[in-house]
């Protein structure tokens, strides 16, 4: 493999694989969402076997279907919240760095304010205000997680704006828009993508914890957070598969996202073009 493809091609291949796998899980979960709700007490508490590779739970529900549906829901929530957070962060960070000292002071104060409130509390409050459920969780996580990325992007834009090559471009008569498109955006993109992908595990974990505390998704929805918290009470009776497979799949999903982010960064970085 080392000889056949260079690192860039391998990175492309791997990120395509990761993206496809994530897409497959999302679609599969979407299609299986009805099967995940079916209860059948004639097959309850089955250990993993050929017919049910992930086993069944105390109500005879197929854990494979439930896990995939839960992951699908998590991925959708994660992608949505990470995207909203990242866009808010980009807008706030760029505005703070470009619109003058007063705007910067106000926006930096807002960032400090949001950062000062404990995350979980803020997520719960916003989730409650938006009426819990899917919308509540997405709003809660999205509106509380943009701060650190916004601060990072603000610093990056400030630094870029005083970079000699940006100053020179302005002297060469390039308009603000051209400078932003040619010089700022390409430099911000890797930071932006990395931030977006780092937000993803956060989003899933907060979704799970808020759901666990009863302020998020309702308990009949097969979310990974719900599955994991429910399975806790069955672990002591030896039903390990209830937590093991969903947990493993969650880790795998997060790892796939990390892989995707890392390879994307490598593809975008021109210093690695010859590797």
């Amino acid at each position: 493999m080392d000889r056949l493809l260079n690192q860039r091609q391998r990175a492309l291949l791997l990120s395509a694989f990761a993206a496809l796998a994530l897409l497959a899980v999302t679609v599969a979960g979407f299609l299986l969402s009805d099967a995940a709700m079916v209860t059948d007490f004639s097959r309850k508490n089955l250990a993993p076997c050929l017919a049910y590779p992930f086993g069944t739970d105390w109500m005879g529900r197929d854990m494979l279907a439930r896990t995939l549906t839960g992951l699908s829901l998590s991925i959708r929530i994660g992608v949505l919240t990470a995207a909203v957070s990242a866009v808010v962060a980009l807008a706030v960070g760029t505005a703070a760095a470009t619109l003058g000292r007063r705007v910067d002071a106000v926006l930096s104060w807002c960032i400090d304010l949001v950062m000062g409130i404990p995350h979980i509390l803020l997520v719960i409050l916003i989730s409650l205000a938006f009426g819990k459920g899917f919308v509540g969780v997405v709003a809660g996580v999205a509106l509380s997680h943009w701060t650190s990325l916004a601060r990072l992007l603000r610093g990056e834009v400030l630094q870029l704006r005083s970079a000699p090559y940006v100053l020179t471009a302005e002297k060469l008569g390039r308009t603000r828009l051209q400078v932003a498109r040619d010089h700022l955006l390409p430099h911000l993109l890797p930071q932006f993508l990395t931030g977006l992908i780092l937000l993803f595990p956060h989003a899933i974990l907060h979704e799970a914890s808020v759901t666990f505390l009863g302020f998020g998704l309702s308990s009949e929805q097969p979310a990974i957070g719900v599955i994991l918290s429910e399975s806790m009470s069955y672990l002591t009776t030896g039903k390990w598969w209830l937590a093991f497979f969903p947990g493993l799949m969650l880790v795998a999903t997060v790892a796939l996202f990390a892989l995707l982010g890392d390879r994307l960064r490598r593809i975008l970085d021109p210093a690695t073009i010859h590797q």
């Binding site: 000699p164 090559y165 020179t168 002297k171 060469l172 008569g173 010089h183 430099h187 210093a271």
Partner: protein, 199 residues
């Protein structure tokens, strides 16, 4: 055209020392003015002020009697920096960087010994001397009237120095450009300049 600095004073920090204190300087088209001075005397800072990268705390920079800051768009006073690797965007190919200034003529590329293959490369794939040629070519747009060369050749080998300077002299002559040449090398200034000023 005439580029004038009148009574310039500049400090990087409001309470800091004046890096430039009451400096006067005049540069006419077709003139080649050498600027000398020990390290830390503000040669680069003066260039930044003259090219409009910074605003002076007192005094003014005039181009044909009009403040330089009132010129919009392409600035007629262009500066070539001492460190070329800082003034090219590391994420853009040099062809794209070059096109930012103007549609550079084949003649200029040939005169500066820029090979066509370099245009598709990224800055990290070229040496400082090679990058400096791009910076010179980019700054020579048709609207450029004055060129400030801040230690343009300090880190180049002698052959590259000779190539760049002979091309620049020729170009300045042909287009009646005014050159400000900053250097620590007095033989170089003697060879190039019509007069010198110490800072």
């Amino acid at each position: 055209m005439i580029l004038e600095a009148r009574d310039l004073t500049f400090r990087y920090h409001p309470k800091g020392p004046a890096v430039i204190g009451r400096v006067d300087l005049t540069l006419k088209s077709g003139e080649r003015l050498g600027l000398t001075g020990p390290s830390g005397r503000g040669k680069t800072t003066l260039c930044r002020l003259l090219a409009g990268y910074d605003r002076p705390d007192a005094g003014e920079v005039l181009l044909d009697g009009r403040p330089l800051s009132t010129y919009r768009g392409y600035c007629p006073v262009q500066m070539v920096w001492q460190h070329p690797e800082l003034v090219v965007d590391p994420l853009r190919t040099l062809g794209a960087t070059l096109a930012e200034g103007w549609a550079v003529e084949e003649r200029v590329l040939a005169g500066l010994h820029i090979e066509p293959g370099w245009l598709t490369r990224y800055p990290s794939e070229l040496s400082g001397g090679e990058l400096q040629r791009f910076c010179v070519a980019r700054a020579l747009g048709p609207a450029t009237r004055f060129l400030l060369c801040d230690e343009l050749s300090a880190m180049l080998d002698l052959i590259t120095q000779a190539q760049i300077w002979s091309f620049l002299l020729e170009e300045a002559e042909r287009r009646d450009l005014g050159l400000l040449i900053v250097s620590h090398s007095s033989p170089l200034l003697e060879r190039l300049c019509t007069r010198t000023q110490a800072l």
